[in-house]
């Protein structure tokens, strides 16, 4: 019988621990246990056999670490996995009965990018190799286990699913009930079920009693069977021996409670023995398994947390989108990732629950841009994303790379589009936004939009996508073009909500297209839409009017306990005076800045004190411009003298790095205001020089380089920042292509100094007219000379001084 079918009918038992027993049999520290499949096959077979006699239905092969990262020799890898299966099969034959052999896949021991250095696709390929061999060996199912990073689990599950076999996933939670990379049980269930795993659960790290909270979480959200394979408690050392405290009897008692919570595939991990499994089986088999049922939670997730739909309206930030945004288009064309990420982080800060990501422009490579944006955004922001593209290739790339379960924007009632998008949604998982458009366009009545929604649900089901994973967008159209369109959309929302019990989403701001002061209309419409059942809004979280609607709506409908969120929000609405960014103390003028005109003094002081909001935004720089001062006057008369004063203080040791940086940020905020002013008047800003900055190959510490960049930009230099761990070739090519005269390199570790030397050597060979400046924790003037750098700079300020000197000559 199919293993899942069997799990649906009743309890199913895994075997228990292996490592502990092998260590007792003589496995040395650091020795790879998979080698025992051939060297001590009798030990492995005996262990399997004992578990089967104890009543285990499923054996895990001894292949936890059998991957090409640990066994690069493919011949060896294959023979170890083959050995593992023949040991398990022999044991099954001896024991008789219906037994299953699961190809066991453990984590790779490396963190995936961006946290670590293993690329997602490389991880996938490594898992794929193990899976392929396991399939050749006749595995009955695949168990991906002990995963403590949901991203790595995703790579493994994708590879496993392609085998067509049943795939079980168990992850290792820590004492706080989360994976080491942050996901909670709800998040894991969202991702796992999205990827189509057949059973999901927990193993290792904790004993059964410490797992109760996680098991509750899994059973609350999982529609598939839940697996629980605990350790026999937490190990401790006693006279050099490892001891596990939970006896078979205690283990069995706890597992009975766990079965009562709804888990139905049960077994053990480290420290458990055949006796644990036998006792557990006896205890559990006397009870009736809790029935399996479909859980109606609609979840999406990032790598740390899930967002649930159907309660409060979910806010989806719309700002990462070039439509109608000149500045954003420019950023896309220039590949200005800082700007794009900045848009994301700002929306996160303003209270978005999800970020929409649309980076399509006809003249750019959308597939590459989408992949890059999703990856980089996820490195700095933990909100779930909504992948927004009409390009199926970009969609697939993004869904594959995405760390979590995303929203997919969008599908509609056209057969062709559904045939494109639904298979992707089925493979990778996601909550699909479905627009009520079909081959005939957008219907003019709510009833017809409802019909399309109904059709989409049906088609989705045929592709194996559940109704809870579809969210209908009945489309907001401008009331300036068609006076009744507001009514039609609102009625559609209500019908979908009430008649179909469906979730809904809207691009709210479309309603006001063509009208003045659009925010006013948007905000009113937003409240009305929520009243008619709207589940999610694609909107601008920086819009005060929209946020007012949202906060008030929740408070008025009793969805804001003690009105706490409303009160916190109201605090930010009051016309509070500009707050000081640093230190609350009232400071006297520092007197350190010499200014030519008295009216420039407040700005210079604000920069010296690092008051970003006061210097930039609607603050002092703008006031001065509005007073009629020339941009150049403000820059040369206030900003540069202030920066110099702070720079001198830093060099003398009276001011310190954070202050230097805060001043730099304040000045940058003022520069931004001036830049916008210049742009609107058609003038450009003078650039003093252009540099390439990079942290060399092999080095991932880039904080020092980033500090240098901030200061250089402040002083009017254009910086092409190549990031960290940069190949020498890329540095040289960029410098040549851009006609750069000065390249700055940083290295933090002694081991990466050779990479710096190699970069300089290559630069000398291919582009001798370019100079180099180097710095970083391990650099010294002597080292710099040795590797033939033109200049060593001890810190960021020193680099600025050198640049001033260099570009003057």
């Amino acid at each position: 019988m199919d293993v899942l079918e069997k799990a649906k009918r009743g309890y199913l038992f895994f075997d228990g621990g292996c490592g502990t027993i092998l260590q007792a049999a003589g496995l040395k520290a650091g020795e790879l246990p998979e080698r025992w499949n051939l060297e001590h096959s009798e030990v492995i077979e005996k262990l399997h056999y004992e578990y089967l006699c104890a009543g285990a239905d499923i054996l895990k092969t001894n292949t936890f670490g059998a991957n090409s990262l640990k066994f690069p020799d493919e011949g060896e890898l294959r023979s170890l996995i083959e050995g593992a299966f023949s040991n398990a099969r022999r044991a099954c034959e001896r024991a008789g009965g219906e037994r299953y052999v699961a190809l066991d896949i453990g984590p790779l021991g490396k963190l995936l990018k961006p946290l670590g250095d293993l690329d997602f696709e490389d991880a996938y390929k490594i898992f794929k190799k193990t899976v392929d061999i396991g399939v050749d060996c006749g595995a009955d199912l695949i168990l991906v286990e002990t995963m403590n990073d949901i991203y790595e689990a995703k790579a493994a599950v994708l590879a496993a699913k392609e085998s067509g076999l049943r795939v079980f996933l168990t992850t290792a939670y820590d004492e706080s009930g989360k994976l080491l990379t942050g996901a909670d049980p709800r998040t894991v269930v969202a991702v796992a079920e999205g990827l189509g795993v057949d059973a999901v659960g927990i193993n290792c790290s904790l004993g059964p009693d410490e797992m109760m909270g996680v098991v509750d979480g899994l059973c609350e959200y999982a529609s598939v069977p839940v697996i629980v394979n605990p350790n026999a408690g937490l190990p401790r050392s006693e006279g050099g021996r490892t001891v596990y405290d939970v006896t078979p009897e205690k283990f069995a008692a706890s597992m009975k409670i766990i079965a009562g919570k709804g888990a139905r595939i049960l077994g053990g991990c480290c420290g458990t023995t055949p006796a644990h499994i036998e006792k557990m089986r006896e205890a559990v088999l006397g009870t009736e398994p809790k029935p399996l049922c479909e859980k109606e939670h609609t979840l999406i997730s990032s790598y740390t947390h899930a967002v649930e739909f159907g309660r409060k309206c979910i806010l989806i930030g719309e700002r990462i989108n070039p439509t109608g945004k000149k500045r954003f288009k420019e950023a896309l064309r220039a590949g200005d990732m800082d700007y794009i990420l900045g848009q994301g982080l700002e929306q996160a800060d303003k209270g978005a629950d999800v970020l929409d990501v649309n980076v399509g422009l006809p003249e750019i490579d959308e597939v590459r841009m989408m992949e890059e944006t999703v990856t980089q955004l996820q490195a700095v922001c933990d909100l779930p994303l909504q992948i927004d593209t009409t390009d199926p290739a970009a969609m697939e790339k993004a869904l594959r790379r995405y760390n979590g379960k995303p929203m997919i924007n969008s599908v509609n009632g056209k057969e062709e589009v559904m045939a494109q998008v639904f298979p992707l949604a089925k493979k990778y998982g996601g909550l699909v936004v479905a627009l009520t458009i079909d081959e005939d366009g957008i219907p003019e009545t709510a009833e017809k939009r409802l019909e399309i929604a109904r059709k989409i649900y049906e088609r989705a089901e045929a592709y194996g996508i559940k109704k809870k994973d579809i969210i209908i967008d009945p489309l907001a159209m401008s009331i300036s073009a068609q006076p009744d369109s507001g009514n039609i959309t609102l009625r559609s929302l209500r019908l979908i909500h009430e008649e179909l019990g469906g979730l809904t989403s809207l691009g709210v701001s479309n309603i006001s297209f063509g009208l003045p002061k659009r925010e006013l209309v948007n905000a009113a419409f937003f409240s009305m839409a929520m009243e008619n059942g709207l589940s999610a809004a694609i909107m601008n979280p920086s819009s005060m009017e929209m946020m007012k609607s949202y906060k008030c709506y929740n408070a008025l409908h009793g969805m804001d306990e003690n009105c706490a969120e409303y009160i916190a929000f109201a605090d930010t609405v009051s016309d509070a005076p500009v707050q000081a960014a640093a230190g609350e103390k009232k400071e006297k003028p520092s007197g350190a800045v010499q200014v030519e005109k008295e009216e420039l003094r407040p700005l210079a002081e604000a920069v010296v004190r690092g008051l970003k909001d006061r210097a930039g935004g609607n603050g002092l720089a703008r006031e001065l411009l509005e007073m009629g001062l020339e941009p150049v006057e403000i820059i040369d008369g206030a900003l540069i003298p202030a920066l110099d004063a702070v720079g001198k203080g830093f060099e003398k040791g009276t001011m310190f790095l954070p202050q230097l940086l805060m001043s730099a940020e304040a000045a940058a905020a003022a520069f931004d205001v001036i830049k916008d002013w210049l742009k609107s008047s058609g003038a450009g800003q003078e650039i003093k020089g252009r540099m390439v900055l990079a942290t060399v190959k092999g080095d991932v510490h880039d904080i020092g380089k980033n500090i240098v960049k901030v200061l250089l930009e402040n002083y009017g230099y254009e910086v092409i920042d190549l990031g960290k761990d940069v190949e020498p070739e890329l540095i040289v090519e960029t410098a040549m292509k851009e006609g750069i005269k000065l390249v700055g390199l940083s290295a933090l570790m002694t081991t990466t100094v050779p990479a710096m030397e190699e970069t300089i050597k290559l630069l000398h060979e291919r582009y001798p007219e370019c100079s180099t400046v180097v710095g970083g924790a391990v650099m010294t003037p002597e080292y710099a000379k040795m590797i033939k750098a033109d200049r060593y700079c001890k810190d960021a300020m020193d680099t600025v001084r050198f640049a001033e000197e260099f570009f003057k000559s």
């Binding site: 403590n148 990379t181 640093a582 940086l661 810190d795």
Partner: protein
């Protein structure tokens, strides 16, 4: 999983993240700390770091021998290092540990690099102090365990110190497999991820305290 490796979880509330150490990482002088605003900034960075810190370690206890002067036979092979030899000889056993403050800190640091480099620089320094604090706490636990057996510990010594090559990180990682216990992994460049992490070797000396 190797059941001879043990996990240690640090109590975030009790971690002593040093203000002076944090200031030192930022390049402050002693007087600098007291200057206006600096103390508040550093304390705020330390508190934020404490919230982001999930201090964890894993460790094992192993035999060690000395084939000749300047050479130590570690569980992962023979290593030539005068400095390590001096530090360990003639201890018959060692503890090997890996400790980290976790991935949440790295993520916040990455985010801040886009939002405010000033805050990033402050947090970076506090994070460096925090991982030292986790190491100190773990070290103390190991010390108590050794004392209970009437033994005492030498000072901890990390790959990369003195003439002990960073290559030894590979040995430490294959021995402890810290990815499984504390989510710590070693990149090909021998840099650890999460970034604020430490590995160390500690000699266990026979004899009374």
């Amino acid at each position: 999983m190797d059941s001879r490796v043990f996990t240690y979880i640090a109590d975030a509330e009790k971690l002593v993240i040093s203000e002076a150490e944090t200031a030192r990482y930022l390049g402050y002088s002693r007087e600098g700390i007291a200057a206006a605003g600096n103390e508040t900034l550093i304390l705020a960075a330390i508190e934020k770091t404490r919230r982001l810190t999930a201090g964890k370690g894993c460790y094992g206890r192993y035999e060690v021998s000395y084939p000749e002067e300047g050479t130590v036979l570690l569980p992962w092979g023979e290593v030539r290092s005068r400095d390590l030899y001096r530090n360990l000889f003639p201890c018959p056993e060692i503890y090997v540990f890996a400790a980290t403050i976790g991935a949440a800190f790295d993520r916040e640091l990455k985010r801040l690099a886009y939002v405010s480099m000033a805050e990033a620089a402050l947090l970076q320094a506090a994070g460096a102090s925090a991982v030292e604090a986790v190491c100190d706490a773990l070290n103390e636990k190991l010390e108590r365990m050794a004392e209970a057996e009437g033994k005492r510990l030498r000072r901890r010594f990390s790959p990369g110190y003195g003439d002990l090559s960073l290559e030894n990180q590979k040995g430490v990682f294959s021995l402890l497999t810290p990815a499984r216990f504390i989510g710590l992994s070693l990149m090909d460049s021998l840099v650890m991820s999460p970034e604020k992490s430490v590995t160390a070797i500690i000699g266990i000396e026979d004899g009374t305290v």
